[in-house]
């Protein structure tokens, strides 16, 4: 039934109210997310020269980024680091989440979760710095090994390497992986596990056939939560890698700010976004497959 005076969707007071309520967020999102994104995409289609950005649109930047050896290498490195970090984090997080969910008494669980979030009490930057203190040239490990006489000169493999970057990032994102896996394990009705054993399977096989598949949504959520921010991480390659092993974010910064080539920088940024999107979509589709059978 329509109200007589002002028909149409804005005549509905409920719709007006709803629009008013979402408008601050909508304006915020438009101005600070959508608009810059459009600007980046537009930049990526222009040519940057000493005199400024050209007015014509071209795919030249993309062709440069997608075919250039250096760009490919850095993007592959970013993918490798992010994949390694994700794999290590999720593999280490699963047993922790499993332990808290299945072997910690219910009244202690919140305490455990609280302890797991302790690393978040300090800023990400400080945590990365602390790893630098541990792994650095004159760091805890090197000076310790030197004073014990095990090595004669500081090890360089433990700092300024992909390995040390992976270690730092894996530590920083561990809680992000533990929490979604924990939640998915908590949701599993314990009678499923009893049913698995009742039907003749050992505890290990019950885990493999029942617990693991039922917790996959949490695992996939953990993968996405760790993978997306790590592939674009800027601080760790800069501090732990010492600027010598840049990842995508460092390359964008270099192009945009140091070389003042906004067009190519924007093209790298859009490319990075596409890579993340493709990986995310693959995992979301996987998740859908696992979620299919569940409520």
């Amino acid at each position: 039934m329509k109200s007589g005076s002002s028909p149409g969707r804005f005549g509905n007071p409920e719709a007006t109210n709803g629009l008013l309520m979402v408008s601050p967020t909508a304006i915020y999102a438009t101005l600070l997310l959508a608009a810059p994104l459009v600007a980046v995409v537009v930049y990526s289609l222009m040519v940057d020269s000493k005199v400024g950005l050209s007015s014509g649109l071209t795919f030249a930047n993309y062709i440069e980024v997608w075919t250039g050896r250096i760009y490919q290498a850095i993007m592959m490195r970013s993918l490798t680091v992010a994949s390694l970090v994700t794999a290590i984090t999720v593999l280490l997080a699963y047993p922790v989440a499993y332990f808290v969910s299945f072997h910690v008494r219910p009244e202690r669980k919140s305490l455990w979760l609280f302890l797991i979030t302790i690393p978040f009490w300090t800023s990400y930057l400080i945590r990365v710095f602390l790893w630098k203190v541990i792994l650095g040239y004159n760091g805890v490990i090197n000076s310790g090994l030197l004073s014990l006489g095990i090595i004669d000169e500081p090890l360089t493999v433990i700092n300024y390497s992909v390995g040390s970057m992976v270690a730092t990032l894996a530590h920083a994102y561990a809680p992000f992986a533990i929490l979604p896996i924990f939640v998915s394990l908590e949701k599993i009705d314990r009678s499923f596990l009893e049913a698995g054993q009742d039907l003749g399977e050992s505890k290990l096989m019950t885990f493999w056939r029942v617990t693991l598949p039922l917790s996959m949504p949490g695992v996939i959520a953990a993968v996405l939560i760790v993978f997306i921010p790590t592939i674009g991480d800027y601080v760790t390659p800069d501090l732990i890698g010492g600027g010598k092993i840049p990842m995508i974010a460092n390359m964008i910064e270099g192009k945009m700010l140091k070389q003042n080539d906004k067009a190519v920088g924007a093209a790298i940024a859009v490319t990075a976004m596409l890579i993340v999107s493709v990986v995310s979509i693959v995992f979301l589709l996987l998740n859908k497959r696992f979620l299919r059978g569940q409520k």
Binding site: S191, E194, D198, L199, G200, L214, G293, Q294
Partner: protein, 366 residues
């Protein structure tokens, strides 16, 4: 209703105790369940019936005593190696698997070919009335269908004992009654020992060959449904199963038959088997079921004995009318049920009535 007792023992409890910390959940369970029997564990919530069932399945360790399945002591035998299968209260249908994957879950190590296994799954589904449901996703099933899947999943493994943990409690009344009949038929068809846990006395009476009534971790009475209903061995059991009227009574002389005097009824002679030994601590009382009392209308004579009473309450149920009648000389009213046959009037409150009864239907609790 009677069950032949010459069958071999399938389950044996020997002085089974179970402690949860300080809590004494099972207090010396001794019982034997025969092969092919439909056996029920009946009791209020918290009486230990589910715990006892889980000791058979292997989900619960016992603190002392022994549980034997098919004459083998089950001490240390894990759940996956016991010849039992369970239908869980929540059914525990795996949500990530289809109906046929659920039913075939336990067949992984079965040496049969994949085609034979698929045939077995289809047969199991047909047996529980779910022919053609194999490809469905588990979450797309109704409560009754889930239960059928749970049954098929357990029975396909041909266990020696099927354990049912309150399987019907989640269903509505109509569905529940239908499933009761189907379960009875299924049990006769497969001939497997069924052990049912329930808090519903009617369900236990309808389905079981024998029932163990449990209170506070102990078996109060173990008998066939008729004995349990007609000759409960304590006021507590009598109260839990159906309705029973109690009036104070005393024994005048004891022997192979007993001379007793009960409030309202007066003196009567009952058999020694009608005297239940377990003391209630509340003084002796006589008990009778509502349907063993009848109101005698004009022209009717009592088949046995009759007393005068006053109608205090009338509850009309359609097919039945329940009366609360107070016998002359009695302090409390008793419930009485009458079938509403054509031409029989419903009495008003305050009416004087003749109540017919029989000493043979009485039970005396010491």
């Amino acid at each position: 209703m009677t069950f032949s007792s010459d069958k071999p023992n399938m389950i044996e409890f020997r002085d089974v105790h179970k402690y949860y910390g300080d809590y004494h959940a099972l207090r010396g369970i001794n019982a034997t369940i025969k092969a092919g029997e439909f056996f029920s564990l009946l009791g209020p919530s918290g009486c230990g019936k589910t715990t006892l069932l889980r000791t058979i399945a292997g989900f619960e360790d016992i603190s002392s005593g022994a549980v034997l399945i098919d004459s083998k002591v089950m001490d240390g035998v894990p759940a996956n190696q016991r010849p039992t299968n369970m239908v869980f209260q929540s059914y525990a249908i795996f949500p990530h698997l289809s109906v046929e994957q659920n039913v075939g879950f336990g067949l992984r190590r079965d040496p049969r070919s994949a085609a034979d296994k698929a045939k077995a799954v289809a047969e199991a589904l047909e047996m529980v009335g779910l022919k053609g449901y194999g490809k469905r996703a588990a979450h797309a099933l109704s409560g009754g269908q889930r239960q059928r899947v749970a049954l098929a999943r357990a029975l396909i493994l041909k266990p020696k004992v099927l354990l049912l943990d309150e399987p019907l409690s989640a269903l509505d009344k109509k569905m529940r009654e239908q499933m009761q009949m189907e379960l009875i038929k299924l049990q006769r068809q497969v001939g497997i020992t069924f052990i049912l846990v329930t808090h519903d006395q009617e369900e236990a009476l309808v389905m079981s060959d024998r029932i163990a009534v449990m209170f506070e971790g102990q078996i109060a009475q173990l008998a066939d449904p008729e004995t349990l209903y007609r000759r409960p061995n304590s006021r507590k059991v009598a109260d839990f199963i159906g309705t029973m009227n109690f009036l104070p009574a005393q024994i005048l002389s004891e022997g192979s038959s007993c001379e007793i005097e009960a409030q309202g009824f007066g003196r009567m002679t009952i058999g020694a088997d009608q005297v239940m030994g377990a003391t209630s601590g509340e003084g002796m009382s006589i008990g009778c079921r509502p349907e063993t009392l009848t109101i005698l209308f004009d022209g009717q004579t009592a088949t046995d004995r009759e007393s005068m009473a006053t109608v205090e309450e009338v509850v009309y149920y359609g097919d039945m009318t329940y009366y609360d009648v107070k016998l002359d000389g009695a302090q409390t009213a008793m419930r009485l049920s009458m079938r509403n046959v054509p031409g029989r009037p419903v009495l008003d409150i305050g009416t004087r009535a003749r109540v017919g009864w029989s000493p043979g239907a009485m039970v005396l609790f010491r």
